[in-house]
Symmetry: C2
Subunit: 353 residues, 2 copies
């Protein structure tokens, strides 16, 4: 019996509602598998925790995360309690950086039964590989002068190492998929970082002659996500561009409530982290109507990452069938509540086995 240790951080808002319920799904899958058990270490780190302790996580928190095999996160942030840059840089971005989760991957695909805002969603199916450690998200910068003369300076920092490993990851992924990599750039307007990005992209591309490549400026690429999403396979982007493109990916799927993300540690020293793309939606907490699909798809990515691809596929099948049968929450046009969706999925998993 292999034991997998999972750090669970429900976080804020609906994260606190959804995460515990989805653990039941993970347990069902472990039961079906028979040879694995998931052991959870749950942490109350959140904006409420901050109000009590003045920090988002305790000083030994990071060390405790490091001892586990994966981090399963709900949602972080509730600007009514704590300013976003405090809560996010104190927890989400802190973990991404200190656990060296240098790549963020987010799939987007057309799901039957989820109404896309696009008239012809054309079965798109792509993955955005996002640089997750540096770039435009940087603490380097500051202000000078005040009042009328104030100036804020923000530095974006692009290293060869981080740029290259992100782009290389995208090519490796494309080899297992349809074989096309699209690079998000803006070298026509942003004249230091983006030409550098383009050069590294070209160099890496030269070592994968079998992969089809293209480079689009972020403005045009955002437009293409709307006008021809079916064109894309793997899209590789800087931290900020990846952030924008993945929310757009969620938007064309039809709901941010279903989109998952994985923050991947590549060097094996620390755990990777799995989190839905949606926020903590404090306005609907306690109503039981939160959509658990984003969290569950996130769990599927975690299972795949931990080497349980069969369980991951089983879960994804159950998710898609459940939505297809119309068992879905209100944000997807259904009338089910969160628990009904979870129970239906668990029921299906038991039937498959």
């Amino acid at each position: 019996m292999s034991k997998i240790k999972i750090s669970v951080i429900p976080g804020d808002g609906i994260g606190q509602e959804v995460v515990p319920e989805t653990l039941k799904v993970l347990d069902t899958l472990a039961e079906i598998h028979g040879g694995v058990s998931f052991q959870y270490e749950t942490h109350p780190w959140s904006c409420e925790y901050y109000l009590e302790h003045g920090i988002m996580m305790p000083t030994d928190g990071m060390a405790r995360l490091h001892q586990t095999d994966a981090i399963y996160l709900g949602a972080v942030g509730n600007p009514k309690l704590v300013p976003d840059h405090v809560s996010l840089w104190g927890l989400l971005i802190k973990i991404r950086r200190e656990c060296e989760q240098v790549i963020n991957i987010r799939p987007a695909q057309y799901i039957e039964g989820v109404t896309s805002p696009l008239a012809e969603p054309n079965n798109f199916d792509f993955i955005v590989v996002r640089e997750n450690s540096e770039g435009e998200y940087s603490e380097v910068g500051g202000r000078i002068h005040s009042g009328e003369d104030a100036i804020a300076i923000q530095n974006a920092v692009f290293t060869r190492k981080a740029t290259e490993r992100t782009i290389r990851y995208a090519f490796e992924l494309a080899q297992k998929r349809k074989g096309r990599v699209t690079s998000a750039t803006k070298s026509n307007g942003i004249v230091h970082s983006m030409p550098f990005w383009d050069e590294v992209f070209q160099e890496v591309a030269n070592t994968y002659p079998e992969i089809e490549t293209e480079s689009n400026h972020i403005d045009a690429l955002a437009a293409f996500f709307v006008s021809k999403p079916q064109h894309f396979d793997v899209v590789v982007a800087s931290n900020l561009f990846g952030d924008i493109l993945t929310d757009l990916g969620a938007a064309i799927m039809g709901s941010i409530g279903i989109a998952p993300a994985a923050n991947i540690n590549l060097n094996g020293k620390y755990p990777s982290m799995f989190e839905p793309v949606h926020g903590s939606a404090p306005d609907i907490i306690g109503k039981g109507i939160a959509n658990p699909i984003g969290q569950l798809w996130t769990a599927k990515m975690m299972l795949d990452h931990l080497g349980f691809e069969e369980l991951g596929s089983m879960l994804f099948r159950a998710i898609k069938e459940t939505i297809g049968e119309g068992i879905k929450t209100r944000d997807l046009g259904g009338s089910a509540n969160m628990k009904e969706v979870i129970d239906h999925i668990i029921g299906k998993l038991r039937l498959y086995s």
Copy 2:
């Protein structure tokens, strides 16, 4: 008879085809008006010009532009001839900066007869006000080390002055429209420039208590452009965020080929510049199939800016009716060529008068 001097820069690719044809429309409008004549000073500045002269425009070029009332631009850039950052920073961005065109405004609205990729475009109608002089588009930055150790640093520079005037412009515009201003931010991830932007936004907002305001992170806002475009009235954004949002605006309209832009000089010292959002599309040059609507809508913005709002409205009516009647180019699903569209519009204008 008032004489309006217009600098005309057809630029590259289809710009060279479309611009001269649309001048016929401007001349027709001048004729109808009776009291105005447009005098054109046409400049061949383009990538071809660069190949011959090693510069995108002659050294006295800027002075010549300064002597005219407006600049009417086609499209700049043809990466097959000249790298984009050379052609754009040598012409488009150079003019924006040296003519102090500190604001860029781009409307997006649902146009009957243009098929939006959205299933329910819901008659959206908004304007993006973009900071056009600084921000993420900055020449400040550089590189250190090479090979494996290379680092590129890009500075974004936000001054109080430029940030405030952009935001103020948006509020003034909203007063004449539906009274809502949405600010594009990313202060949860970009911790120096964006919190600064938010503070200035809040201060300006306090002086317009009658205007409804909201602030969205750029990732969520990009998603909302797809999921609820009808929600927006005036959207205010930094240089980069405005760039991305306006291409998205064009995408949800259904074609980048119809979207216009105005680069506005606010201090009256230099002319403003009017340019379509589309690029030079060198692949379709010479075929006569380029869509002239983006350029014509741009001409409408120029007419409005020069104080000929009646002519501007007349032109916009002719544009919409022509598209509505199905006289449109292939990119809009029609079969007309560029000249047929132009002739039809001219015919309509004559009928109105």
